[in-house]
């Protein structure tokens, strides 16, 4: 217990680690979205080759442990181009997330009635216009609940970059635990910080879903 002041003094250090974890999560989610959305569109609207490519991508990435993907990409990215390990870690985590984001976006896109696409085309819109102006504004709203799940998962998975040596929350907790010999307290504190982050994310996105929900009930979605 005499180590307690020492742990309290380490708190800012841990919270900075939490900020890094959040930064990793945000960058990973964004890169996962930027990869996942085009793939979801290819899967739904692409020709046979593009659609099966997207499907194969999803099956392979979802069939691999995130840690294995992380190691492969981390080594892969670092050996091809010289970018900071932090960015390599974020992008690798983004690839892990992209396949899951692709699947949830595909589900959302497919739950927008195909009749709307036909109607848009009949009104003279091109397919791209119909997708960007009619389908996506609805699909992205519908995707928020499952996307909030994915965000919470990526926060938790951001702890995996510990294994490639980034000084995020878990790595810093390990340093503090090693210094104070109080593993239980420090790791429990670390767990509490993660819990707070996933909890706030889920609640925040629940609110976002209510704010962005379409005023009219979407019959097609049910």
């Amino acid at each position: 217990m005499d180590k307690l002041p020492d742990i309290v003094r380490s708190l800012p250090y841990l919270l900075q680690g939490a900020l890094l974890s959040i930064a990793i999560t945000v960058l990973a989610l964004i890169s996962g979205f930027l990869i996942g959305l085009p793939l979801a569109l290819l899967r739904v609207y692409g020709n046979k080759a593009a659609s099966s490519f997207a499907q194969a991508y999803s099956v392979v990435l979802r069939g691999l442990p995130s840690l294995v993907v992380l190691f492969i990409l981390f080594y892969g990215i670092s050996s091809v181009i010289k970018i900071p390990p932090f960015l390599a870690g974020c992008i690798a985590l983004g690839f892990c997330s992209s396949a899951y984001q692709m699947e949830l976006l595909r589900g959302a896109i497919q739950s927008v009635s195909p009749g709307q696409m036909l109607a848009a085309r009949a009104l003279g819109m091109t397919q791209v216009q119909a997708i960007t102006a009619i389908v996506l504004p609805q699909a992205l709203r519908l995707a928020i609940p499952s996307w909030s799940n994915e965000a919470a998962i990526v926060i938790k998975d951001s702890s995996l970059v510990y294994a490639v040596g980034l000084a995020e929350l878990l790595r810093r907790s390990q340093q503090v635990a090693a210094r104070t010999y109080q593993s239980f307290i420090v790791y429990s504190l670390c767990a509490l910080i993660y819990f707070t982050m996933t909890f706030v994310t889920n609640r925040g996105l629940d609110r976002a879903e209510k704010v962005f929900r379409l005023p009219t009930p979407m019959e097609e979605a049910h």
């Binding site: 840690l67 938790k156 995996l160 878990l170 593993s183 239980f184 819990f195």
Partner: protein, 238 residues
């Protein structure tokens, strides 16, 4: 080509042993998770308020924190508690766990929380009128749950549960950080031995992929076999 096959011949026996460890941990953790998950789900729905609260806290805590952190609390943290207890004269050697035991317990507790959620939504998908009918026929609440609700709920939970099987095989890979010799750890060992990170990681990846896809297709078969004819229509309406 011959060189590549030669290399594969050298690394595959080691990876095979790792795979067995991975499968063993997955099986134990899934079973442990089921043993924890069923009572937890029941408590969350039918238990008295304080037990419901404890079950909910357990589920939320384990679903809201990273598995890696849970593993660290159990493997590195519990010995601290044992030491503190020893200080006040209570011996608790069972809190100091081996790497493998920590892996079982961390993954089992983690899976238990998720399995409890799958089962809870399966139980809630069953029409509450069935319990009332069972009670009206003179069954006790416990009888109604074990004879009427659970036989349906366990089958309804199979699709979600079969996903959990694939997830578990993938998630066991985190145990390599506490040096449990699973597939990934053996791969890492081989990387430090031969210094061919990409080649070995790709082989490890292919093995994981084959196992996960194989298990998924087996689980799909089981899903088809155990489907209750006509029941899905009732849950769709609900």
């Amino acid at each position: 080509m011959a060189e590549m096959l030669d290399f594969l011949g050298k690394i595959l026996p080691e990876l095979y042993r790792g795979l067995l460890t991975t499968l063993q941990i997955s099986a134990v953790a899934l079973l442990l998770g089921l043993l924890i998950g069923i009572p937890t789900a029941m408590l969350r729905i039918y238990g008295p308020r304080w037990l419901r609260w404890i079950a909910t806290a357990y589920v939320e805590l384990f679903r809201g924190t990273p598995l890696l952190v849970q593993l660290f609390v159990i493997y590195y943290g519990l010995p601290d508690i044992a030491r503190a207890l020893e200080g006040i004269g209570v011996a608790a050697p069972f809190l100091v766990l081996s790497q493998l035991a920590s892996a079982y317990i961390a993954l089992g507790l983690n899976s238990g929380a998720y399995q409890a959620e799958y089962l809870r939504s399966a139980i809630q998908a069953i029409n509450t009128g069935q319990i009332m009918a069972a009670r009206a026929l003179g069954m006790s609440k416990l009888q109604a749950v074990t004879h009427i609700v659970l036989p349906q709920a366990l089958r309804l939970a199979i699709p979600a549960w079969s996903n959990e099987v694939a997830y578990m095989v993938k998630y066991t890979s985190v145990v390599f950080v506490i040096t449990v010799p699973d597939l990934l750890a053996r791969g890492q060992f081989l990387i430090s031995k031969y210094y061919k990170p990409m080649e070995i990681l790709l082989v490890v990846g292919v093995i994981y992929l084959l196992v996960v896809l194989g298990l998924t297709s087996v689980m799909n078969q089981i899903e088809k076999r155990t489907r209750i004819p006509g029941l899905h229509m009732e849950t769709e309406r609900a």
